[in-house]
């Protein structure tokens, strides 16, 4: 995913916007994007500011689009639910679907891969929901 997706994502359960992003693995591209500024119409996930509060010239849209997030974590600051970004795709299922064996297996692998690299962060989020428990 790109940072630009934060312009659209909200918590599937409590609908809070914007979400908090933690990047674990990212890749930077060299290509140039021919896009119109602002790329996002409402919220800049890269600067974590609303578009209306930013001067158009200061928007780093090109720099932002070159960064691709491969793995990371989305956290809802209101209800505390968390959603993994796995192989570039955010998994944002509602509570009842997270027990589905196919979803749970993916979320469990994600936790096991990253929890020792980000111990404080995971200690906090796993209190809310822990697919390895």
């Amino acid at each position: 995913m790109r940072y630009a997706l934060l312009n659209l994502l909200a918590c599937p359960m409590c609908k809070h916007f914007p979400l908090e992003l933690h990047v674990f693995e990212a890749r930077e591209e060299s290509r140039k994007f021919e896009i119109k500024k602002p790329f996002c119409d409402y919220y800049c996930g890269y600067l974590r500011k609303y578009i209306r509060d930013i001067n158009n010239e200061e928007l780093p849209c090109d720099e932002c689009l070159r960064k691709e997030i491969k793995a990371g974590l989305l956290v809802c600051p209101k209800c505390g639910r968390w959603y993994p970004i796995i192989e570039g795709i955010p998994l944002m299922y509602p509570d009842k679907m997270r027990s589905h064996p196919r979803i749970k297996a993916r979320e469990r692998d994600f936790v096991l891969t990253y929890k020792d690299k980000y111990p404080e962060l995971f200690q906090k989020i796993l209190k809310k929901y822990n697919p390895t428990a």
């Binding site: 659209l8 599937p12 914007p18 299922y93």
Partner: protein, 229 residues
């Protein structure tokens, strides 16, 4: 046991859904406008890629509940270099992970009929109402119940209903090697009623039969509805 997610997750490799003309036309009628579009139940993302190819000013977000479908979609849009215009999110249509009033257009093709509980279908439709901008439209298609090709499944549904295993006469499942998927077979009147109940204003409705359809079912109902303020 019916497990629509697993059934779709297993057939993701090689899965393709035609980008129906009806849908592409709806998405790209304002060709030069920058618009944010959502395709709910995007599968391997064929429709979004077609929309972006037709009008590169659009951002087309794909939502599906099958992670494998989305992996395929991502791989294909990367090959075209258009993945930055085609974000993908794994989610459930009854709980969209999207902010209010963010979309200029929403498309949901052959997806709503997988929810066999009426209250879930209404919930999904209300979610569309929530994420659409005011004055903007959604286009929905579902399978029609009046088709000979699915008669066997419909009869199976009736029997299960009589045995009180199903909520509606028109609920059934399709099974193959990959597993079983649930379906609710719509009448047009019922579709109009549910869309209206969710607070959307119906603008146009009818039958759509795509040319050269390879899908099991070829007769679809479509409905275009508006979010008012």
């Amino acid at each position: 046991m019916t497990d629509t997610l697993t059934a779709y997750d297993r057939i993701a490799k090689g899965y393709r859904r035609r980008a129906w003309k009806l849908l592409v036309k709806f998405a790209t009628e304002d060709l030069s406008n920058s618009e944010v579009i959502a395709d709910l139940g995007c599968g391997t993302g064929d429709l979004c890629r077609k929309i972006i190819e037709t009008s590169p000013k659009k951002i087309c977000l794909g939502i599906d509940f099958s992670p494998n479908m989305l992996m395929e979609a991502l791989r294909k849009s990367k090959e075209l270099g258009s993945e930055f215009l085609n974000p993908l999110v794994a989610a459930d249509i009854t709980h969209l992970p999207l902010r209010d009033s963010a979309f200029d257009k929403v498309i949901m093709a052959s997806t709503l009929h997988h929810l066999i509980r009426k209250h879930e279908r209404i919930k999904a439709l209300k979610e569309i109402q929530r994420v659409l901008k005011e004055g903007k439209e959604v286009l929905i298609t579902v399978w029609s119940r009046w088709q000979l090709s699915i008669l066997k499944e419909i009869i199976k549904g009736f029997i299960n209903y009589l045995l009180r295993r199903k909520e509606s006469f028109w609920d059934t499942e399709f099974c193959s090697n990959s597993g079983c998927r649930s379906y609710h077979f719509y009448s047009l009147k019922e579709l109009i009623k549910e869309v209206s109940d969710a607070g959307l204003v119906v603008k146009k409705q009818g039958i759509y039969e795509p040319v050269r359809a390879r899908e099991v079912s070829s007769k679809n109902y479509f409905i275009k509805a508006l979010k008012t303020d």
